[in-house]
Amino acid sequence: MRPAPFEYVQPRSIAELRSVMESDDGSAKVLAGGQSLVPMMNFRMASPTRLIDINAITELDYIKADGNTIRIGALARHNHILESTLVRERCGLLAQAYGHVAHHTVRNRGTLAGNSCHADPASEMPAVLLTLDAIFHVDGANPRPVAASDFFLGMYTTAVGSNEYLREIEIPMLTAGRRGHFDEISMRQGDFAICGVAAVVTVRNGMCSDARIAYCGIAEHQFRLTEAERWLEGRNASAATALACADLAASSVQPGGDVKASSEYRRHLVRVMTARVLESVFNENGLERT
């Protein structure tokens, strides 16, 4: 399984990258970590005639604080992000969720930006980024910020168009009282999710507000379940609430079925995992279970 031939371009700066993209006919693919793209190329499911390797653009490799946000450059590797003190302290959900993502070696090369652009429907981090209200800074033909809820459009489809690349992911830091958790069921350790749930909720005085609940592995793309989020508004942060919200979620989703898991099982997991994740979020805030 060897890839088809391609022209290889390795820009060394953002300026060079923009220039390369501008002159491209739209068929080039960006190579960052390669952990999703190269297997597809080896299978010849993807045979780009031109590969733009951005790994030399060191100015894209950053994880930095900027006021109340964390800015993660296109080349930031998964392992650097999960090990980053900044991330652990100011957006712990990212680091916690990484425990379910692939394996250490894959995370050495893989990038959060690349993972997001590949948009495998069962990938964990897109669901997490949805709950964090991440902003995706697309660059190239039409530089613009894209809200997370507008970024993941379909199976392997995002808002990044041809002659464009994802330059940065901007993530608001979690404020006091705002916590998140992620959990999933997969067939084996490190596999993609059969059903993954991310939730971020502000809990003040035992009351929930501003909830974000997102899923991966159950549909054509990761998505937020806004009915469940709205329902949670103003409810008390208790075990009973978690269960009730989970029931609502389970009845609201239309999960797909495949050889790994039936639609009914996924729906069941939505119920069980939503409850568990919400309970974890509530418990992190140190609130009693009623």
């Binding site: 299978f43 067939m187 490190g190 790994k260 069941h268 997991l269």
Partner: protein
């Protein structure tokens, strides 16, 4: 030595001879071979499961720079005949499909180029026109298919390869007189060995001598020479095989010749060495070695005392598009079809069908693991039905130690055993009462514990009659399954052992050294072990069917006896004494009476090699210290077609008991193995460390079969498991620590009482793990009859109405041919 029964080296966990080069990355696997002017092959595979090939256009591919040859099925057929097959009547398969394709992934065209990448580029330029035919996606479709849906119309208007129905003992009476009958339908999934190294071959053809040199990891080259030579339309003397290190086989590289044959044909066409390595996709779809794919309707007859009296199996087996090993895997199951139990009556019917998938080949157990699963499941079901304790019920039915040697209803022999002893040891190791207490504590919780048990025989030392003894008129009733070894003591007294079989990871060098050390009384670290291919001239069946260690031991014993006779002759002549007065110990040869004469092996070797005229004429004192020995199966007999007795074909029978403590999360429908005890009786263990490795590896594969693995296809025959992202083999997180112990009833038939144990881990783990899952869910009345038990499927079981859970008998089993149909 063996005289006193005390062992010097056998039974010790010495470190492996194989390791230094494997660890350093220096061992040569097939893909490591680089020959001058070597070129690379890739194939164009069928995208349809069943189709006529109307036209093939190769011009664009041939024109690509770097392409050396593009070969169609018709062109390959000028230089090759059908692939070896034991089917009778034959089922014709070519290395490249000629008129039609019978599964997705079947190779149609081969491309040879300067690099594999260019070969794949060219393969993408080949155009094939297909006319689709009806797809036979599963066994039920196979049973009904006629006309265009028939895969091999030259064999008749049917997709049934063969039907065999045999009865042994008074089985109808057993069922008629039974107090209880346990009846279930079981579905065993299609899985395979999936070694980390795929099958490959580098073949060089020398036109001047018309000779082929094979570097390949496919196995049994010696025995296969005949079939392979015929496939290549040459004589066996035109083939030389060089043994390679093999990156795992577990049976999956046995009898798998398509890669080597295609590489040989291409080498001949190109007049350059050709390397053809299966990539993982080819291995998954076109490997010709998927495991058993069976549906059983199985019944156990039980008398009023809870004694099993009879077993009925009606099996449909989906063999895929070809049938090269015929009913070998059912013959294999017949070796121990009644397991460790005393019952004397068996009714066995098998219907082998063709579907549009790659064909079956061996996978650790070769059908025996399926039979064990079915029988142990029936026993568990019986325990429930009779409200009996599953441990006690088994003990009640075990063959007793005084029953051996025991002839099974089918005619096979069990040489020795103490099944109750093994079970008791397992229960003691597990601290079974602790397990029961833990289980009781979690009863009714969302996370429940279950205790699973399986007590299975592990037949070993495969013979070959199982491939044909079900035929009414056997086409090729072969009965040879030898193993050879050559041992010499060199001029400095160093023993050098040459084995003729490849290393699969089964530690042949280490075992050969230990066994030789035992007989020669030398330290195994001083022994050199090397490999020879077919040019060495000695016959070797190689590893398969848990035979290698036993056969190697017999060959080494024979060779050492011959060597030591020579050593004693030389010493006796030197000392002027009788040969009976010379014995061997760590010092070498010594005179048993008085004088204190000692000669080291080095001294004896020097005398024998260099000073011929110091010794009398005659064969006794021929120059040199070398012996080769071919060891035949120690106890095998032919079947008796008149009585239906299958003969003795797998008489070295070990036994294993696995106890599993599993936790089922009823909310998530997931399974976690909490504790695992495995007690294996494989007779005299040569190296406990490597034996434990085989057991743990087999259990890991059992975990895969029970919880994770399955080849899935859609109704048009397209593979839904087309990569290792879909075909899930266990990672380190899915295999827990396993406690292993040995129990020993030596074999009376083999050298040093060794029994084979390479397959035991898988032979016992599948029913044991399944049993534990059931046990955790006994309050739900769950009884598992189909694998794998994925979370989604366990969820379905937990949600099924109670009435559907326990029996799981067939919803309308389709009609099957009742008469034996041969064409």
């Amino acid at each position: 030595m063996t005289d006193t029964g005390a062992r010097r080296w056998v039974g010790k966990s010495i470190l492996r001879k194989e390791d230094p080069k494997l660890l350093a990355g220096k061992a040569k696997f097939v893909d490591d071979i680089q020959l001058p002017r070597m070129c690379h092959a890739a194939t164009v595979s069928s995208i349809y499961a069943h189709a006529k090939i109307l036209a093939v256009r190769c011009d664009a591919a041939k024109a690509l720079p770097g392409v050396i040859a593009v070969v169609t099925g018709a062109e390959a057929a000028e230089l090759s005949g059908p692939l070896p097959s034991r089917a009778n009547p034959t089922v014709t398969q070519h290395c490249l499909a000629i008129d039609k394709v019978r599964y997705v992934g079947e190779p149609v065209v081969a491309v040879v180029a300067e690099t594999r990448a260019i070969a794949e580029d060219a393969a993408a330029l080949v155009e094939v026109d297909y006319e689709e035919l009806p797809v036979v996606a599963d066994m039920d479709a196979a049973l009904e298919a006629r006309g265009d849906a028939v895969l091999h119309p030259e064999r008749g208007d049917t997709n049934v390869y063969t039907v065999v129905h045999r009865k042994w003992g008074e089985v109808d009476a057993a069922f008629a007189n039974s107090a209880h009958i346990v009846k279930r339908m079981f579905r065993w999934p299609r899985v395979s060995a999936q070694p980390i190294e795929t099958v490959g071959a580098v073949v060089e053809y020398e036109p001047a001598t018309q000779h082929f040199f094979f570097y390949s990891n496919m196995s049994q080259q010696m025995m296969a020479s005949g079939g392979l030579a015929a496939a290549l339309k040459v004589r066996p003397s035109q083939l030389s095989f060089v043994p390679m290190y093999v990156g795992g086989s577990f049976g999956g590289k046995v009898g798998v010749y398509h890669v080597a044959i295609l590489a040989a044909v291409l080498a001949r066409i190109c007049c350059r060495p050709v390397k053809f390595m299966e990539d993982r996709l080819e291995h998954l779809l076109n490997g010709n070695q998927h495991g058993s794919d069976r549906r059983y309707l199985a019944e156990l007859a039980i008398d009023a005392n809870g004694i099993f009296t009879g077993l009925r199996c009606d099996v449909v087996d989906d063999y895929g598009a070809y049938f090269h090993l015929a009913l070998g895997a059912h013959g294999n199951a017949a070796a121990q079809i009644t397991g460790p139990y005393r019952m004397t009556a068996v009714d066995y019917k098998v219907t082998a069908v063709a579907t549009n998938k790659t064909q079956q080949g061996p996978y650790r157990g070769f059908g025996g693991e399926v039979a064990n699963f079915v029988l142990e499941r029936l026993v568990d079901a019986a325990a429930r039905q009779l409200k009996a304790d599953p441990f006690e019920l088994r003990k009640r039915n075990f063959l007793r130690p005084d029953a051996f040697p025991y002839t099974t209803p089918t005619g096979n022999l069990y040489d020795s055993g103490d099944y109750e002893g093994v079970l008791d040891e397992a229960m003691r190791m597990a601290k079974i009462d602790d397990w029961k207490a833990r289980k009781a504590k979690q009863r009714g919780n969302s996370k429940r514990l279950g205790i699973g048990v399986a007590t299975v025989c592990e037949r070993s030392v495969m013979n070959v009659t199982e491939f044909w003894f079900f035929e009414d008129k056997p086409l090729n009733p072969v009965s040879s399954s030898p193993e050879s070894v050559s041992i010499r003591i060199d001029v400095q007294g160093v023993p050098i052992v040459t084995i003729y079989a490849p290393c699969w990871g089964n530690s042949p060098e280490t075992l050969a050294a230990q066994l030789t050390a035992e007989h020669l009384c030398v330290d195994p670290s001083t022994i050199v072990v090397n490999y020879a291919g077919t040019d060495g001239g000695m016959l070797s069946k190689g590893p398969a069917g848990s035979r290698f260690t036993v056969m190697l031991a017999g060959a080494i014993e024979g060779a050492c006896q011959a060597l030591l006779a020579k050593v004693k002759a030389v010493a006796a002549h030197r000392w002027g004494c009788k040969e009976e007065d010379v014995a061997i110990d760590e010092r070498g040869a010594f005179m048993t009476a008085g004088d204190g004469h000692v000669m080291t092996f080095a001294q004896i070797a020097e005398a024998s090699y260099l000073y011929r005229l110091d010794f009398p004429k005659g064969d006794r004192f021929t120059t040199g210290l070398a012996a080769s020995y071919t060891y035949d199966h120690p106890c095998a007999t032919l079947p008796d077609p008149k009585t239906g007795d299958l003969g003795i074909f797998y008489p070295i029978v070990g036994h294993a008991c696995h106890l599993v403590l599993a936790e089922v999360d009823t909310e998530l429908a997931t399974v976690r193995i909490v504790d695992y005890v495995a007690v294996h009786d494989v007779g005299q263990v040569v190296n406990p460390m490597t034996m434990d490795g085989q057991i743990r590896g087999g259990i890991a594969q059992g975990i895969g079969t029970v919880l994770l693995e399955k080849y899935e296809f859609d109704e048009s025959g397209q593979a839904l498991t087309g990569s290792l992202a879909d075909y899930l083999i266990p990672t380190a997180c899915e295999v827990p620590d396993i406690r292993v112990s040995h129990f020993t009833t030596p074999s009376p038939l083999t050298s040093l009482g060794i029994k084979g144990g390479g397959e035991g881990g898988r032979l016992a783990s599948c029913p044991a793990i399944t049993s534990a899952i059931d046990d955790a869910l006994e309050d739900e009345g769950i009884f598992i009859t189909e694998l794998p038990v994925t979370p989604s499927r366990l969820f379905d079981l937990l949600r099924a109405p109670a009435s559907d859970r326990a029996t799981q008998e067939s919803p309308a089993a389709p009609e099957r041919p009742t008469a034996v149909e041969h064409h």
